[in-house]
Amino acid sequence: MQITSPRFKQNAHEALGDAALQRALGNLKAGFPGKRAAAVARMPEFEQLRDAARDLKNHILEHLDFYLETFEANVKRRGGHVHWARDAEEARAIVLDICRKAGAKTVTKGKSMITEEIGLNDHLAANGIEPIETDLGEYIIQLRGEHPSHIIAPAIHVNLDQVSDAFHAHHGKYGKTERQTEPRALMNEAREILRDKFIAADVGITGANFCIAETGTTVIVTNEGNGDLTQTLPRVHVAVTSIEKVVPTLEDATLLHRLLSRSATGQEIEVYGTWSSGPRRPEDPDGPAEYHVVLLDNGRSNMLGNEFREMLRCIRCSACMNHCPVYGAIGGHAYGWVYPGPMGSVLTPAFIGVEQAGNLPNASTFCGRCESVCPVRIPLPKLMRHWRAREFEKHLTPQGFRFGLGVWAWLARRPKLYRLATQVATRVLKPLGGKTNRIGSLPLAGGWTAWRDLPAPQGRTFFEQWKDRQQAGGAK
């Protein structure tokens, strides 16, 4: 897919002015955070589970090579195949090769962000194999020629009438000429059309939420059942996943299960948790004859050795973006690549380079909501700050910004001068606030005041007030 992260500011500006998008984002804000809070309230041990999940993930990362090799050995023992892909190109080539050997004309797909990360659909299509997304949200955006704007609700940016339009435009060839306008009718139409696709597909491609070392099992988590039809009906099942998804045991995957759906949609648990261990066995009447797992690295192993290791704990629940005021204002497409929101602001620079994606970690107030809801306690603001530091070190930030930061740093290291300067500034700015105490336009700060008012200082600095308070307290 085309990367638009470098024009993040322009993307965000356009998103803020997009009325349809803003309406759709209202559904997100009204839904996920409240549902998560309700689910957490019903689970008194939730905070302890988060601690346990953080510790489990840290243990896994410290022994990642061991668990991956154990996982591989157990998949092979059950007759499955494991493929290792250093980068997106290798992963695409591996999947294409499997599809070619299977003589595939069409492949059905369960929802998988890893296949978005490697750009699989375009690659298959360019090589004459038709990929068909079967998750309802993914199907909608595939018809619209778009990419997901959210990692678990890929069509969150699309409104009902736009779904009607997309189905009406594409379903005529299946004899569906009437334009449906009710969600129920639209879903039934997709169900009917995709059922035939499931039956006809030669290869089914899914992701995997967890890979279990102990048993050589891959796990998918869905609500629709599309992932199961995808992996059960075709002759070949390919699970495309990444190296940090491995967990030691069934019990460990169960711990993460307790956190995943509650953090994501606020469900007690997903509808379908599917634990797959190898291909169809001799006596089995159904299931795929071939079972492949593709393990993608794509920069993750580098993160083990640097300040971004904690990001590898991520279980892709989406709680961080569901609670992010920036994501809630601009949606996922503005981030310009596969992963949006706070987790995307940490991952994207790691995967495509801080040169291209430096604006993403800058687009945060560090309000900390993301970290406060993360089921594996990833310190997302801290990791975004690490990217800001790297961006500065690489001289990627604009000259004016660097100059301003330099002046501030010079001043901040001289406390007396700093206090004097802030005393002067507050007294100069106060009258500019007028009756409303808000400043609508300020020289040198146009970037701020163009979009919102600056609250006027109230005349005395924090240090002055603090000094008064200390003295008053001392007098008691």
């Binding site: 061991f66 309802l136 169900r191 048993t215 609500n223 711990l255 599917t274 009447p285």
Partner: protein, 224 residues
């Protein structure tokens, strides 16, 4: 260098280790796999059996499954006949070949059955659950020749037969049951955890039942 060796090498470099895990650290990881200890289990899942059965029913219904209770296994076909009539389906079902399901007297209840895996167009299926998990009202089914997994996904109405004696509190107890009954290290080709019928909220975040999998999930619970 192959992708595999390059990736493992880079992981070890990141972990500041020159070769594969060895010594005490290796033994600790191997022990962890062998012991597969449960992590924290919520208090909700730790109840006496009667409470677990009640919680299972409550949570399954909350997930939009329907639950009917019968006193003995022989009463299952009559309940299935009643249910199919109730939802306006013909008295026909594809049943799992497992003797506990296919071996029931379906003709006496007036239900025409075929024992096989499911095909597109099958409207109702009956499958056996290996366990019920009270914590979230989750069914656990094991795929195999006696219980093909297509039965769980292709029909419009999915009927699952569960013995109340096989309801456990937490998921971990279901794993323990699988290990003790089928042997350490054995896994069926697929384990399905199923909690309620298929659904999607992908159109404007409005929840609709029956996206790709069954539109209805009916649990026939035997005994108490």
């Amino acid at each position: 260098m192959s992708g595999r060796e390059a990736i493992l090498g880079n992981i070890r470099k990141g972990l500041k280790r020159s070769g594969p895990l060895a010594g005490t650290a290796l033994e600790l990881c191997q022990t962890r796999l062998r012991e597969h200890r449960p992590n924290l289990i919520p208090a909700r899942a730790q109840l006496p059996h009667a409470g677990q059965v009640e919680l299972f029913v409550q949570m399954a219904q909350e997930a939009s499954a329907t639950v009917a209770r019968v006193t003995e296994r022989a009463a299952v076909p009559a309940e299935v006949a009643r249910y199919l009539a109730d939802i306006g389906f013909a008295a026909e079902a594809i049943v799992a070949p497992d003797a506990s399901i296919a071996g029931l007297d379906w003709s006496a209840a007036g239900v025409a059955t075929e024992a096989r895996h499911a095909r597109n167009g099958d409207r109702a299926t009956v499958a056996p659950a290996f366990a019920g998990i009270a914590e979230t009202g989750t069914l656990m089914l094991l795929a195999g020749p006696q219980s093909p997994t297509t039965l769980n996904f292709l029909p419009d109405a999915h009927i699952v037969v569960l013995d109340a004696a096989r309801i456990v509190g937490p998921y971990e107890d279901a794993w323990a049951m699988l290990r003790s009954e089928r042997g350490e290290g054995w896994m069926p080709r697929v384990v399905n955890w199923i909690t309620g019928p298929s659904r999607s909220a992908d159109i404007e975040q409005k929840l609709q039942m029956g996206a790709h999998g069954p539109i209805r999930l009916h649990i026939v619970l035997i005994g108490d």
